[in-house]
Symmetry: C2
Subunit: 407 residues, 2 copies
């Protein structure tokens, strides 16, 4: 019924290239990082894409992620894996945000987070390239998306998460068929275990940006935004930044769309939002550095952005700077306040990382970094339901007289 999933449509991948050195790598082969240990980027014959597909033709397709097929790496329709990757809605938050603030609610995707975008693509490519066993370090949501998609196509998964990952995330990963382990450390400690196993040939390493295709899936956030805004991008994007795949992916999407002639050279200012308890990108941005050092003693309630070190640090910093944006840190109290205000006043329950973007927007408004007339998009990267909430109320005794005035 959705021909995005069944129609044979070409992919226009030509090759991959090192994001640091530009060195070329062959498409249609299994790759990890480049020779210098940096992410590989997928390149397309965009002239051919433009000849094969127009914005008008695109607008007649169902609006899910797979409508962007010509700008995605999967070659064969049979390798598509899907759990219903809908176009996520943009929800105004006029009271807690402002008249021109939209939340892109990524919690509506399969497994309840934007991680589905990256993992659906990476798993489809793993299937296409014959991978049978995958391991991954995760703060929770990426592991859930990996488990779901990999189980769906019979690929074995082993997932490692920090010891204090919320129970609901760990259980979800296990329910969806992965073998999951807690580790007494942070996500990069989990990543070290995954890396060691990969070196021994035990599994394929699916860490953020260590395989080339998650970024292609995340790219669809930028493609969708462009279409949803009628091919005229918003003025600013606030993006919760851990590994930064989405920010890098959106930036890549905008470039590809401009080369296709589908958008102008106008770009949103990209704001990379981090928690002040784990803000390596903010520190590097402010110091004018090209790379970000590991953040020691990382701590924040926004676990999804508790990432002490990002292998794509220079790509994040480059996109933020090119865009005229900034890297911004916000404290946990401001995050909690933003989540509470948005839920109570606009009826939208954000995840803490989404709350961080609202907190950062408010601070940016206060400092004059953004203007309230500007069209702004905040990314709510996951459903707020996966996260701790305040304790619940006392019980009313239905057998006793009820004091209605006190309810």
């Amino acid at each position: 019924m959705n021909d995005n999933l069944t129609a044979d449509r070409p992919s226009f991948v030509t090759h991959l290239e090192c994001s640091m050195t530009g060195e070329r790598y062959d498409a249609d082969m299994l790759h990890g990082l480049s020779r210098v240990g940096r992410p590989l980027l997928v390149r397309y014959d965009l002239d051919a894409v433009g000849a094969a597909l127009s914005r008008d033709a695109l607008s007649t397709r169902p609006t899910d992620l797979w409508r962007w097929r010509e700008l995605l790496p999967v070659r064969h329709t049979r390798d598509i894996v899907s759990l219903g990757e809908i176009e996520t809605p943009m929800v105004p938050i006029p009271v807690s945000g402002g008249a021109n603030v939209l939340v892109k609610d990524e919690g509506r995707l399969p497994t309840g987070s934007f991680k589905a975008r990256g993992l659906v693509m990476a798993v489809a490519m793993a299937k296409e390239l014959g991978v049978t066993r995958i391991a991954m370090p995760t703060n929770g949501n990426a592991g859930a998306a990996l488990a779901a998609y990999a189980s769906r196509c019979g690929i074995e998964t082993i997932v490692f998460c920090p010891e204090d990952t919320p129970e609901i995330n760990v259980r979800e990963i296990a329910m969806q068929g992965a073998r999951v382990w807690r580790v007494n450390g942070l996500i990069d400690d989990c990543g070290a275990i995954v890396g060691k196993g990969a070196t021994e040939g035990r599994w394929f390493d699916f860490s953020t940006l260590k395989e080339p295709y998650r970024i292609e899936g995340k790219k669809t956030m930028g493609l969708e935004l462009a279409a949803q805004f009628g091919w005229d991008l918003p003025d600013a994007i606030f993006y919760p930044t851990g590994g930064g795949t989405g920010l890098i992916g959106m930036w890549k999407a905008f470039d590809e769309l401009e080369k296709l002639g589908w958008i102008s050279s106008k770009r949103p200012r990209m704001y990379a939002v981090q928690a002040s308890g784990c803000a390596p990108i903010v520190r590097a941005f402010e110091a004018g550095e090209e790379h970000a050092e590991r953040w020691e003693d990382a701590h924040t309630i926004a676990m999804g952005i508790r990432v002490p070190r990002a292998v794509g640090d220079f790509l994040i910093l480059r996109a933020v700077r090119e865009s005229g944006g900034k890297a911004l840190g916000v404290g946990d109290p401001a995050i909690l306040k933003a989540v509470e205000d948005c839920a109570r006043r606009d009826g939208l329950l954000l995840c803490p990382e989404g709350g961080a973007t609202l907190a950062a927007y408010r601070e940016a408004l206060r400092t004059g970094e953004v203007d309230e007339d500007e069209r702004v998009v905040l990314f709510n990267c996951a459903t707020g339901l996966k996260y701790p909430m305040p304790p619940s109320p006392q019980t009313l005794d239905r057998h006793a007289p009820i004091d209605f005035d006190a309810l």
Copy 2:
């Protein structure tokens, strides 16, 4: 950007009528139950709808719930309330279900359940009709949807839920701005408190089917299904049935679509699925009764369908019988098994009530009630993330040597 929310489009409501006696009631006035204590149904001038809107025109609109505006009761665009009511995807579950089985994944709606459909409409109408204070009994998901939409438009809400409602639901309701109370009883005990307060004029009663508009919102499940199936309905629908608003609403939708000439007279067999620990509709169906008595000692892990008495019982039974379907009960072990299989093998985490529909489908397949060649839709009414899952695994010590073979 979504003109479904901003365009002025007419509503074609002519009047309301009692579902039992057919007595007419004026539109554009606040109503509860009819004079004989039964639900009111909203009626439209379908000839005028047909003159104003075609299937082709409809297909050019964004696919969300509000594209059905001409078949919905809201008169004024300013009264629309929205948190992004997307068209929910249909996800195949080939391994745990079968080649022709699709899950309509209602967990993607705002607040994570199909309750959003009914409540977005009921709250918009409450806003239109000047209601300022609403109370509701809930097993969790309806209360969350009510709280979110009502808070969004400044309507005060008081919500009562059974004592053992999962913590996550109660907290979600509170976060979204409602005053919420646990009550030592079941949902109809909560309903009695709401009813008493309503009689005293303290609030408007938003219990299932006690106001006329939730059913109009739920109707969109049937409208969407028709559009998604290319106006040729599936052979069978398995629907988790507590209050039954959705089943009644879909049946009403199919009637309206046929009168519009958009579908034929062909109908799916409707299977009302209940938990065997709380199966009043199943008991009444099997006994050939028109009404269902209260089920005593109700118990099931599928709390959303733990509804001992439904005010719309006769409407559910009538639809099921007219359709050639059945009411089916399934035990908790079969529900858990279905949830586990679907998550582990197809990567889709159902809620227990959704699991109940898969369990019922499997049993119906075994008994020959359905054929594996038939096109079947199962309703997953909420995200599986709101529900208890098996405990999570032990911690791996990253400082000790790791036995990779044991992972």
